[in-house]
């Protein structure tokens, strides 16, 4: 057992830090999304260094991994700095294409992803199919050389700046619900596809939006079917294991908590020093221990990922990370008294960002497979508890 980073791992981390110091300008920081020209350029610079395709074969535009843990080191450093991270494009879409798609599709799309040639939206959720994705109804009717789609999706986060949709649609309405879904790659400018904006909570300019996506007799060529028809649900589930882990680094939570502690250390409110108040001190101390546990669980998942898909550990990460984010968003406001309700202005620490975080903190608990769903994954796969049908769903570890 050796918790120290190896010299090679440290060298790679230093390289990433130097890159961030050089390239992370103010207009890049502050979002994990690759949604503006500055952020796209930042990610393309990473692509130029071969950091997007690490671990994938060269024939698909991939590159060697400098050290086995490099992808995790990279994401942790990006997340800590508040930069866009190597997210779903690689973690979900490229991984799935690489494992299940045709040779032609791999040769076509993997190099584009690794060169950051366009952004992607994950287009799964429907009003009546959220956590229970298997219940999705939006049909892709098989017309031979193409599929025809009419219907809608919502909560499609990156749809307003994407070039492609990674889209799940029902292809067999008569099969058991998990056995009638397929995945497609759909160009965003396909005729018949349109968008409507949904605003998430937050002040103008401080947060991101999401979208409804509508389809009116939209045609998808058969060549854009990913892998086998009607296997889509299983591809989504496998990818979610990667996604929970690849997209959710804990480092930004550590940074945000450290910033909060830093504020309380320095604050002087008309002569009252929060740093000397026993309740404030113990509350922050308790949270510091819980934040440290998040770092430990992430470490566990990273190490597990060296041997296998860290499905259980990724779910543990999800539960703890989202819960802790919620807890300290609440705590920060509690400790501020009436100042906690401020949404900007001169007396508001961080100019209202704590309120923004508070408002969306619960969202992290429900997004990308909610906390309670993730707990059930831990219960079934690690502890071997039966699923709702009374059978262990997957072989237990």
């Amino acid at each position: 057992m050796d918790f120290d980073w190896s010299p090679a791992e440290i060298a790679f981390r230093e390289e990433v830090r130097a890159f961030i110091a050089e390239e992370l300008t103010e207009d890049v920081a502050g979002s994990i999304f690759i949604d503006t020209p500055a952020r796209i350029e930042f990610v393309t610079k990473m692509a130029d260094r071969g950091w997007l395709g690490m671990g994938f074969p060269e024939e698909y535009g991939g590159s060697a991994t400098p050290v086995p843990l490099a992808p995790f080191i990279l994401n942790a450093e990006l997340d800590r700095a508040g930069a866009p991270i190597i997210g779903k494009n690689v973690g979900t879409i490229a991984s799935t294409i690489y494992h299940v798609a045709s040779e032609e599709m791999k040769k076509d799309f993997l190099p584009k992803i690794f060169r950051n040639e366009g952004q992607w939206a994950i287009t799964y959720t429907e009003p009546n199919a959220g956590t229970d994705l298997g219940s999705m109804q939006c049909r892709a009717v098989d017309k031979g050389d193409h599929f025809e789609v009419s219907g809608m999706k919502h909560f499609i986060t990156s749809a307003h700046f994407c070039r492609w949709h990674w889209m799940a649609l029902r292809t067999d309405p008569d099969a058991p619900k998990h056995k009638g879904i397929s995945i497609f790659i759909v160009d965003h400018d396909t005729p018949g596809l349109s968008l409507s904006r949904m605003d998430t909570l937050g002040r103008e300019g401080t947060t991101h939006r999401t979208n409804q996506v509508f389809f009116d007799k939209m045609k998808i060529p058969r060549s854009r079917l990913v892998g086998e028809q009607n296997k889509g649900f299983y591809y989504m589930m496998q990818a979610l294991d990667y996604e929970r882990f690849a997209i959710l680094s804990f480092a930004s939570r550590v940074r945000r908590f450290d910033n909060i502690v830093g504020w309380f250390r320095r604050a002087d409110l008309n002569g009252e020093r929060p740093a000397q108040d026993p309740h404030t001190r113990r509350s922050l101390a308790r949270m510091a221990a819980r934040v440290e546990v998040g770092t430990m669980l992430e470490r566990l998942a990273i190490c597990r990922a060296q041997e296998a898909v860290p499905d259980v550990e990724a779910s543990m990460n999800k539960v703890w990370g989202a819960s802790i984010g919620d807890e300290f968003a609440q705590l920060a406001l509690d400790l501020l008294g009436p100042l906690g309700g401020l949404w900007g202005g001169e007396h508001s620490p961080f100019d209202g960002a704590l309120a923004d975080e508070y408002l969306m903190a619960g969202h992290a608990r429900v997004a990308a497979g909610g906390v309670d769903t993730s707990k059930s994954i831990v219960a079934r796969r690690l502890l071997g508890l039966p699923n709702a049908l009374g059978k262990p769903e997957l072989p237990q570890r």
Partner: protein
Amino acid sequence: MDIKLTEEQSQLQDMASRFMDKECSFDFVRRMEQESDIGFCRDMWAQFAQMGWLGMIVPEEFDGMGMGILDLVVLIRELGRHVCPSPFLYTAVLAADLIANSGSEDQQRDLLPGIVAGDTIYALGYQEYSRFFRPEHIKLRAEAHADGYALSGSKLFVEFADGADTLIVVARTGEADSCNGLSLFLVDRNSSGISTKHMPTMSRDRHYQVDFDDVVVPASAMVGELNQGWDALEPALHKAVVAFCAYTNGAGFEMHEHATQYAKERVQFGRPIGQMQTIQGYLAQLIIELYGADMLTLFTAFQIDKDRHTRGYVAKTKAFSAETVGHVMDVGSQIFGGMGYMEEQDTTLFLRRGKQYQLALGGTEYWEDVIAEEIIDREPVVLT
């Protein structure tokens, strides 16, 4: 970075697990609770010595194995799984480390081999009649005396005091209400002027009040420098605390296994209760907390062995492990419904201990204060 146990650590864990399975059943623990005057088994202690466990962190020149706290943590987690009653923590960790690092050459030479051989058992006299663990609250006096020092006062919660040969006593020799002005003494349990009284606890373990009535000890009984006892004790105490966390994590894992097994077997409403999302949610939350506590304990032990500044990490480890073991024993018991609260039910051994573990060796308030000192009052040391 690699978090797999080494070959040696795996062997140690297997050996400890096999030994504990064989020798430390729940019946054995109950016998120790109900029938033993000292609360542990001297034959088992002799076996610990034979297996080399008591000398794990003792330097090789004093017959020990010179291993690290990380190795120790792997071993003691298995003891915890069986809630094994033994003075291991105070003898093989606290006393061994204290004497090895702060003892005089004479003390090291004279005392360490006795720990390794299982000849001398130590208990810690620290806590007094106070809600708090901070050293400022220690009042037991040690006054200079023609033959050394004379100790007067009372210690509480001296675990295994009646089975011990030597008491490590933290006494005030100088400045009042401060962590300065304390000195450490190794006091023969049979010295005249010492009397003990059993303090009944939920755990049915062996905690004692130890009264010191002008107990005279020679000057050579002091460990470390006069009035600087806390500086000597704190690092040893930290190692004992991390080892204790491994023990309570082990107990938590064991309780969790029993609760999980029960959830698979217990049928209500025509299906195993473990099929219900509420039960799954409880058990998942608890195992996540246990994994977190376990990783943090291993991490901190590793950093202690590297001799890094770990005060904040020890405090975080204790604060979180303590909260976790309390939570696991409480919620874990509830999985059993009414049976969780029947004396005959073995898991009540865990329930009776959970809260007490949480409060032992400094409760939440103490360790949160230490964390606050480390992250608010000074530039935090971040180990990655």
